[in-house]
């Protein structure tokens, strides 16, 4: 299927190893912390209202980022904790793992944050996130009917996303 106008810019979808369908859910936030997309494939237990959920998730990332920056042994200038930074500034984490799930995270310099929650055994998903980012560009940003900053409602995107996440290592 022709995703990127035949260009080889984007990583070709990483080969799906192991049994698919271990993606739990995914968030896409923009630079203003608006949740553009929340998609879930397998979340047996939901306790919070979706707003609460989104807010918590964003908060988690936000602080986690400043923590990591703070902790960064390599860089000299350490803003004090909680001081906001520029996207891509300082170091950043790309995933953490709990006993029940793994959260993979990527942020584009334009502040688009993609969070993918999968089962703890999944491997490095950075490429996959990048690929998803490309999907986002192709099917959301370039959709004539999509106005930037609004929640994503694009069939093409959702289908190809589900498709992709379904057989994800």
């Amino acid at each position: 299927m022709q995703f990127f106008g035949g260009s080889d810019i984007s990583p070709s979808p990483p080969v799906a190893t192991g049994s698919g369908s271990n993606g739990h859910m995914m968030y896409v936030f923009n630079r203003n912390g608006i949740c553009l997309l929340y998609r879930e494939w397998n979340r047996p237990l939901r306790t919070l209202s979706s707003q609460q959920d989104h807010k918590l998730m964003f908060g988690l990332l936000f602080s986690l980022k400043s923590f990591t920056a703070k902790m960064d042994p390599t860089s000299v200038d350490k803003g004090n904790l909680g001081v906001p930074q520029l996207p891509g500034q300082g170091c950043s984490f790309h995933s953490f793992r709990t006993n029940t799930f793994k959260l993979s995270f990527m942020e584009s310099p334009s502040g688009i944050k993609i969070i993918l929650v999968t089962n703890p055994k999944t491997g490095d998903l950075r490429e996959s996130l990048k690929y998803i980012y490309n999907l986002y560009v192709e099917y959301v940003v370039k959709n004539p009917l999509y106005s930037p900053g609004t929640p994503i409602k694009c069939e093409l995107f959702n289908t190809s996303l589900d498709q992709y996440v379904k057989n994800l290592a």
Binding site: S7, S10, G33, V83, L86, P109, G111
Partner: protein, 186 residues
């Protein structure tokens, strides 16, 4: 594993889907003319073109980042360079040179010898004061804003007005860090 190195402008341009420039050039020309008829005031047209450019910029930035593998745009100097060498190339197939930086490195010029927007174009006397390529400045402004650089982009030279090149002046106003959007008392 290390993130891929940012690509060169040529590499990117070679790989994106391209169309022949005529359609692009003529379409833009038609838009400008229509705006002139509808808005009558040249100043207003400049403004609207810039606005349109801005809107385009905030869309294009993500495609740019996605396809050029540029992972960080924190340093203004770098960023300006990337725009000139990769950004413009990737979309318009032309590159600009980045010149006369000011001392504190917050403003510079992008100089283009030629750009596909202006092929065939010849400003009529009635339209002096029109910045024909104003959409371009808008695009750059918008794109930079998306990477949290508030800038001011203005035309210094314009071949359509008889200058020897197209010169855009980029001035960095401030870099806005991203802040926590929610009230804490929620």
């Amino acid at each position: 594993m290390a993130p891929l190195a940012p690509r060169t402008g040529d590499a990117v341009f070679a790989n994106v889907e391209r169309v022949n420039a005529e359609l692009f050039t003529l379409t833009y020309g038609a838009i400008v003319r229509q705006l002139l008829t509808d808005l009558e005031e040249v100043e207003e047209v400049n403004k609207q073109l810039d606005q349109m450019g801005y809107n385009i910029g905030i869309r294009l930035i993500d495609e740019f980042l996605a396809k050029s593998n540029v992972s960080r745009c924190v340093d203004f100097k770098e960023t300006a360079d990337v725009i000139a060498k990769v950004g413009l190339k990737m979309f318009l197939g032309v590159t600009a040179s980045v010149t006369n930086w000011d001392v504190d490195g917050t403003s510079c010029s992008l100089v283009l010898e030629d750009n596909p927007l202006v092929d065939f174009v010849e400003l009529p006397d009635t339209c002096q004061g029109l910045y024909y390529c104003n959409i371009l400045s808008g695009v750059i402004r918008g794109a930079l804003e998306m990477v949290s650089m508030k800038t001011e982009v203005t035309w210094v030279r314009d071949m359509l007005r008889g200058d020897d090149a197209y010169e855009l002046r980029l001035k960095l106003l401030k870099q806005v860090p991203e802040e926590y959007p929610y009230k804490d008392d929620e």
